[in-house]
């Protein structure tokens, strides 16, 4: 039996779900994703929501660093801009969340487009240093307007569904109230989960479409050799600035999602270098250069610490450490292990498994 249908047109060849196996896998994934909020405990539902935020953040960094090859340590700054935009939009202006999230994206994209030109002359570590500088600059600006942003003490992030305030709703917005739909009670956490599932799916699709289209190939051409890209008619400046713009837009969206999930945000932590490095580790562990890698890395890193806490609780030496120490330990071992044994990340492991089944029963 052929494992895949015969490809007879270029359209067939660019399908996302090429064969029956893809369709089965994605149907199973969809069932798990939809059932998750109803099956998981409150703690694991929160972890699921946080994973979806990380997926959006990792995909946006993948577009910039994985596709266009521009190393950025300023990812936390773009996310902070998105987060504070929705906080101010909700807290001060009483705007609904569905307006706030794209606003957060656009605010971050404006800053991203302003930083983009630096990448035209700097590369590698030098660009990393410039983008690193973005974190204290953004933090300083946010701290300079305490009447808007709450300064060091932070700001609450209300989630309104409409423009006018609803009678009797909590100060965190009327989205926090539970909904009753067809006999099911949808708590705030459940609603947030499904909203984020939608956003994360859309962002992943956008990322995949970039990678399989002309825009993404231009970015990858610039990543691998910008001299050759130029000789082929690709404008490197345009490709780099485009990568910065698209990436920072999605980073702003991720920041907005983060803010709504936390309901109360401060600047540092969480929007510091640690967060930027965390996102870089996600795309390295997942596998640089593919959306699959971004998603796999985000899921692994967010799920890792609660998993480690649960699994190592009974072990002799490890249980003497605090839970934070345990997850840091496993995290660093995992990053080093991937860099040494599987530089392609989880995507490389996926490729190996796929090849094993495609060539079965032969081993090569």
């Amino acid at each position: 039996m052929p494992t895949r249908p015969l490809v007879t047109s270029y359209k067939d060849d660019s399908r996302l779900f090429a064969d029956i196996w893809h369709k089965i896998a994605w149907t199973l994934a969809l069932v798990v994703l939809v059932a998750w909020p109803f099956m998981a405990s409150a703690r694991w539902l929160t972890i699921g929501t946080q994973t979806l935020v990380a997926v959006v953040g990792a995909v946006s960094l993948m577009i910039l660093t994985g596709f266009a090859g521009q190393i950025s340590l300023g990812h936390a700054a773009f996310m902070a801009i998105g987060a504070y935009t929705v906080a101010v939009a909700g807290h001060v202006l009483h705007l609904p969340f569905w307006l706030g999230i794209p606003m957060g994206g656009f605010a971050a994209a404006i800053v991203g487009l302003a930083v983009g030109p630096f990448a035209l002359r700097l590369r590698g570590l030098y660009l990393a240093l410039v983008t690193l500088g973005l974190i204290p600059i953004v933090a300083h600006i946010l701290l300079s307007f305490p009447e808007l942003t709450g300064g060091v003490s932070g700001i609450s992030v209300p989630m309104h569904t409409g423009f006018s305030a609803v009678e009797g709703a909590s100060s965190l917005g009327d989205m926090t109230a539970a909904w009753h739909v067809a006999g099911l009670e949808l708590s705030f956490q459940t609603k947030l989960y499904f909203l984020y599932l939608g956003i994360a799916t859309a962002v992943c699709l956008a990322g995949v479409n970039i990678s399989r289209s002309n825009t993404g190939r231009a970015m990858m051409a610039v990543r691998d050799s910008d001299l050759a890209a130029e000789a082929l008619g690709v404008n490197p400046a345009k490709a780099k600035i485009m990568a910065f713009g698209i990436s920072s837009f999605f980073a702003g969206v991720a920041g907005a999602m983060y803010a709504f999930e936390q309901q109360y945000i401060t600047i540092e932590p969480p929007f510091d270098l640690h967060m930027s490095v965390h996102y870089i580790s996600m795309i390295v562990i997942g596998g640089v250069g593919t959306i699959f890698g971004a998603v796999a890395g985000a899921i692994t890193l967010v799920m890792l610490s609660p998993l480690v806490e649960t699994l190592t609780a009974g072990l002799p030496i490890l249980s003497d450490l605090t839970s934070a120490q345990r997850s840091t330990l496993v995290f660093s071992v995992a990053v080093c292990g991937f860099l040494i044994f599987e530089p392609l990340g989880l995507f490389g492991i996926y490729l190996r498994i796929k090849r094993y089944f495609l060539t079965w029963p032969f081993r090569y």
């Binding site: 060849d13 479409n209 002309n214 190939r217 990858m220 130029e230 485009m242």
Partner: protein
Amino acid sequence: MVELMTPLLQLQDVDLSFKGVRALREVSLAVNPGELLAIIGPNGAGKTSLFNCISGLYSPQSGAIIFEGQNIVKAPAHSRATMGIARMFQNLALYEHLTVLDNMLVGCHHRYTSAWWADMLWTEGAQKQEREARALAEDIIDFLNLEGVRKTPVGVLPYGVLKRVELGRALCMEPKLLLLDEPAAGLNREETEDMARYILDIKEDRGITQILIEHDLHMVLDLADRVAVLEFGNAIAVGTPDKIRNDPAVRAAYLGNSEDTI
């Protein structure tokens, strides 16, 4: 006959120096439409520098580069590529993480008019352009007999195939002028013969004007319509292969003052 046409590309007194080194000294050269012009010369004569000036990676200190009646000496490299100047690099400059097909499609870059947001949303228009580019890339893949490796990442392919992929990527740009920088360097006899056949097919079937840099003199003298000889940045002779073969200045540059023949 060819001398009567308006040249496709004309170099006028192109002068290029790097600090103390004068790589090109007032080089003037005309390339006629449809011809295969070869550039030969000893190492360091300025052949690749000349290509870099034409494709825009170097900007000469003085002189004019006129392509289709337009002085392009100030145009950036990517816009020259869009005008129809394609090149093959001497040391391969392929994207080794991308597949053969994707490398070809990067060559099709200038054909695309879809905006980034249309690509991101994978609109019907973006898909249509993708299919058109794919059809062109497949035509080139067919021409260069690369069907078997179209989905293979370039990084794992052998050198002889890579040279063909690089030629294919340049052809995907549908150029008017194709710059070939040592297409046969490092190839064995059989692969060199294949490459020579492709170059002749490109000239005769596709009608693309080509400039060829090559050290294999037998290949050059067999293929080229005209040959230009560079030495220390000077164009010392231009003419038909027969004329070049017997030119005393060329013989002095290549052989010293001996009685041997090229």
